[in-house]
């Protein structure tokens, strides 16, 4: 076994393809690391500015409980509205999985009544919609998987052409040993440029002063490396399988390339289309209409219950109270519609990611994003956290109001609260175990790809005609 692995490894690394793989992977990992870290630094700076502004805003709002409830004040200099916001910081591990983070909203305004529709605050260019970043997921998912195919396509077919396969098998060598030996040799040869690339990439990233590896990152990175090796072995097994079925190495390469193109380039791009077709959402226009009707219907409802006065103000607190209540309910209902709509958009996008999982590379992307804590999964988590924060904020404002009411203060608008007690939004990092649990199904799927292809290769080599 060791002899075979050593032979295969030496064969691979002395060949031209190893040299190319080395230059390609290491070079791109270096460039990718530089671009990612520069992008992260810029986004982090923007995010810090937003957070600082939020921290400055809270004392300003705290002077006036009513204003704090509204979550907004005006800057006298610029005339801009200053909102209390919940900010989604850029993902630290985006050099591994960018996950199209810069195209997803990252700020949401907060008031006691509602969470505003999330907005994008970034320097991203909408004209680059089609293009992604050169991160690990892209490089491993596309480039290294192709290399796995290139390293294995002629494992059996090539030897058959040269006639060495029958020579090898004439020795007392079980066929599965040859299969595993070839697999291990190819994987080891692939892992050399891979690991050098990873080290270089991380070195380049860590040179950036804005960057600091956090706790749990090491575990995440190790897990992602393991998953990457698992993913690459899918293509290595596929290569060995096809190679054992074909008598000519060119034929096996053509078949492998077709499969590779379909699974890494074509299928991952079909998710969006499938989601649009199979999980359609309402249009913005329909939602606008629903929002308008919600207002009218709520007022009509109150009018029916509490009389025709509802809807107008008379300057008399007793007469106005139903109008105030009706308007509050109506606003809450409107906000709920808007929020549900945004949720359905997020659900559609997650569906798009899930729909393309018949390809191993889509599965790999999903696991990578989950483990790195970026992409749509992180975005969905952020939305949930913002909702939780909103509840907390609402409870705080209501608590302060009832405190003021029990103190016998009639006018709460001028009341100040202690700014240090105002809750602040914080994006808690997700525990690694949670990320791992979330990607359990996908890991299983990837393992299944490996197992099926290994079995296929094994059965195929057992039955193969070596001549």
């Amino acid at each position: 076994m060791w002899t075979i692995i050593r032979k295969e490894l030496l064969d691979s690394i002395t060949g031209l393809r190893f040299l190319f793989a080395m230059v390609f992977v290491v070079g791109l990992m270096g460039i990718g690391g530089y671009i990612s870290s520069a992008k992260y630094a810029k986004e982090m700076e923007d995010c810090r500015n937003l957070e600082i502004r939020n921290m400055e805003l809270i004392p300003e709002l705290s002077n006036n409980l009513r204003r704090l409830g509204g979550g907004v004040t005006y800057d006298p200099l610029t005339g801009l509205e200053k909102h209390l916001t919940a900010v989604r910081p850029p993902s630290r591990l985006q050099f591994i999985a960018e996950g199209r983070e810069s195209k997803l909203p990252n700020t949401a305004t907060i008031s006691r009544e509602a969470v505003g529709t999330p907005q994008i605050y970034s320097r991203s260019n909408f004209l680059f919609g089609k293009f992604g970043y050169v991160d690990w997921l892209f490089l491993f998912g596309v480039v290294v998987s192709l290399l796995a195919v290139v390293f294995t396509y002629d494992a059996f077919s090539g030897e058959r052409e040269r006639g060495t396969l029958s020579l090898t098998l004439s020795n007392s060598l079980p066929r599965h040993t040859i299969l595993l030996g070839k697999f291990a040799g190819a994987m080891l040869a692939l892992c050399i440029p891979l690991f050098i690339g990873i080290v270089l990439n991380m070195l380049v990233v860590s040179f950036n002063p804005m960057f600091a590896f956090g706790s749990g990152d090491t575990v995440r990175i190790c897990l992602i490396v393991c998953v990457s090796v698992m993913y690459i072995s899918v293509f290595a097994f596929m290569g060995l399988f096809v190679s054992s079925r074909c008598s000519r190495s060119v034929t096996s390469l053509v078949i492998l390339l077709v499969v590779w193109v379909i699974s890494t380039v074509i299928i991952p791009q079909t998710g969006g289309m499938l989601a649009r077709m199979l999980k359609p959402i309402q249009s913005q226009k329909e939602i606008d209409l629903l929002v308008d009707t919600a207002w009218d219907e709520t007022l009509a409802e109150y009018r029916w219950q509490y009389g025709e006065d509802v809807g107008s103000f008379f300057g008399d607190p007793e007469r106005d109270k139903w109008t105030i209540l009706a308007q509050k309910t109506a606003r809450e209902r409107q906000e709920k519609i808007r929020r549900d709509y945004h949720r359905s958009k997020a659900a559609q996008a997650v569906y798009a990611l899930n729909a393309s999982r018949i390809s191993p590379s889509a599965v790999f992307n999903k696991i990578g994003e989950t483990l790195a804590g970026s992409g749509l999964g992180r975005y969905a988590r952020w939305i949930t956290l913002v909702d939780e924060y909103h509840e907390q904020f609402k409870r705080f404002v209501e608590g302060e109001e009832s405190k003021a009411a029990s103190d016998g203060r009639a006018d709460i608008s001028g009341m100040a609260v202690n700014p240090e007690t105002v809750p602040v939004f914080l994006m808690r990092p997700e525990p690694v175990a949670k990320a791992l649990a979330d990607s359990f199904f996908d890991l299983l799927l990837l393992f299944l790809f490996d197992a099926v292809l290994f079995t296929l290769a094994y059965v195929s080599i057992l039955r193969a005609d070596v001549r």
Binding site: L104, R123, S124, V150, V250, V261, I266, M273, Q284, A352
Partner: protein, 522 residues
């Protein structure tokens, strides 16, 4: 002799396994993706048709000129099925009003002066989507290299190159024959793909292809042939440089991965780093400054002219840059003040809208600069140039959108001039009430003041309105019609990119020629 070489190459390719695999892959992928793309297009077309009807309906029955704010729509491009471009990222509806100069930017934030209205799930737009260009760029590019990698090196290994050259065939004829034969062989799956695409399109009841679309489709086909020819030449060059077909194949694969898969993302990433873009906020601050300045000038005007007697009317909100006003009654002095205010405010509003547009344009130009750089860097790969050319031919690129916005601007000026020429910048801007109704609503004292000579214009207007049509005639409004760009204009716009692809081809052919001339066939 040439014809014989071409025929031989063509037939050899036709009979090969890779030809069958490539053809089947193209056909299957086209047959699978086209129905989804077509359905998506039909959905967007329907949405557009509803929007057009709805927006036309909104103009029916309006009584005052302040409400004449048409919305214009851009039809989805039918060839977007071929190359989606940036069409999905950009909104298809533009609001035409004096307070807005449309700018080619997606609707930013929720500022009420945002002139464009979006249509897609923005979270989904962040995911890549599949169109025909991806299939052709990826699959046909690969197929071209697979056709060419063993053209020279493979024949040397089989020993047939020596035999061929032993005859009286000049090397250039042989090389050229291989090139022509190979490209013919590639044109076949390409033609089948195009044919299938067009047939599937024509099967849809909603899709009609105009003459211009047909010309564009032909140009797309020619462009695609050019694209695969360049990749074939790349394979030919590599094959004539090395001695073993295996090494040639390996090099071709690396070249393909770099040029087709890595380069587009890489060039965009590099451009993003090299050309920094300001955040939306910097633009918002500048915009807000302009709006404040507008409020200030309006307030000054109000302080000077506004009558002291307060009376609530919706018109009191119209200090904002983009508001619609309509009210029926206020006392005569206030009516006169409002008419004067419209005369003062509208030109001011126009000039401030232009100022705000310049701020937005400034940012748009930075984004466009990033794109230009990205394209420039991407020129290292013919795939990027091919993408630019097809995007332009499909009418889904940024420049086509800019053209639409330019048209929208021109239309806006037409509408504004129309309102001015119709005398809309006076009482009719905010009211359509007639004298009889006005007197009914007035208190006796106010009704009496109407006889004062200084209110003569108001009286004249009200008298005229007594008999005039209360609603404005929508048939009289300036009409907007979407103009698509002529194919010739598109070609001249992307001539540089086409020239680049051709140049790429010429250089590759010359290099292969030199390499083949020096090639040792043993």
């Amino acid at each position: 002799m040439l014809r014989l070489t071409v025929k031989r190459e063509f037939l050899a390719n036709l009979m090969s396994f890779r030809f069958g695999a490539g053809l089947i892959l193209c056909v299957v992928l086209t047959a699978l993706t086209m129905p989804i793309m077509i359905e998506d297009y039909e959905f967007r077309l329907e949405e557009y048709n509803t929007a057009v009807l709805e927006h036309a309906g909104e103009l029916n029955g309006i009584g005052t000129y302040s409400f004449l704010k048409p919305k214009i729509d851009r039809p989805p491009s039918v060839l977007g099925i071929f190359n989606e471009g940036v069409e999905r990222q950009l909104a298809g509806t533009v609001l035409i009003s004096s307070g807005n100069v449309p700018v080619a930017m997606p609707s930013a934030g929720q500022s009420d002066s945002a002139p464009v209205i979006g249509r897609d799930n923005e979270l989904l737009a962040a995911l890549p989507s599949l169109d025909m260009i991806t299939i052709i760029k990826v699959v046909m590019g690969l197929l071209a290299l697979l056709f060419a990698f063993d053209a020279v090196a493979g024949e040397r290994e089989q020993g047939t190159l020596r035999l061929s050259l032993a005859n009286s065939v000049p090397r250039d004829t042989l090389l050229f024959g291989k090139f022509v034969g190979g490209v013919f062989g590639l044109t076949l799956p390409l033609a089948v793909t195009f044919l299938l695409m067009v047939i599937l399109m024509l099967l849809s009841p909603l899709i009609t292809l105009s003459g211009s679309d047909a010309v564009r489709l032909c140009l797309l086909f020619l462009g695609s042939v050019l694209y695969v020819a360049v990749f074939y030449l790349l394979g030919l060059l590599i094959s004539s440089l090395v001695r073993s077909a295996r090494i040639s194949l390996l090099l071709c694969l690396f070249a393909w991965t770099f040029l087709v898969v890595v380069m587009p993302d890489l060039s965009a990433s590099i451009a993003r780093e090299m050309i920094p873009v300001p955040t939306d906020e910097e633009r918002e601050i500048e915009t807000k400054q302009a709006e404040i300045e507008y409020y200030r000038q309006m307030s000054e005007f109000n302080v000077q002219y506004e009558p002291k007697r307060y009376m609530y009317s919706n018109a009191s909100q119209s200090n904002r840059i983009n508001t619609m006003v309509r009210f029926e009654y206020t006392y005569p002095e206030r009516m006169m003040y409002h008419a004067r205010r419209v005369e003062f405010a509208e030109p001011l509003r126009r000039s401030f809208a232009e100022r705000i547009a310049r701020i937005r344009e400034n940012q748009a130009s930075r984004l466009a600069k990033q794109v230009r750089w990205s394209r420039g860097i991407g020129m290292a790969s013919p795939a990027a140039a091919y993408d630019v050319v097809t995007e332009a031919l499909c009418g889904t690129d940024w420049e086509a959108y800019e053209r639409f916005i330019d048209d929208a601007r021109r239309y806006r000026l037409q509408v504004l001039d129309y309102i001015r020429d119709k005398g809309g910048l006076s009482f009719r801007f905010f009211t359509n009430v007639g004298l009889t109704r006005y007197l009914e609503m007035s208190s006796p004292e106010d009704a009496k003041t109407l006889d004062n000579p200084e209110y003569a214009p108001l009286r004249a207007f009200l008298t005229e309105m007594d008999t005039a049509e209360k609603t404005l005639d929508p048939d009289d409004f300036p009409v907007y019609g979407y103009r698509s760009e002529r194919p010739g204009a598109v070609l001249s716009r992307v001539a540089l990119y086409i020239a680049f692809i051709v140049l790429y081809g010429i250089i590759l052919f010359s290099l292969s020629y030199i390499a083949f001339m020096r090639y040792d066939p043993r």
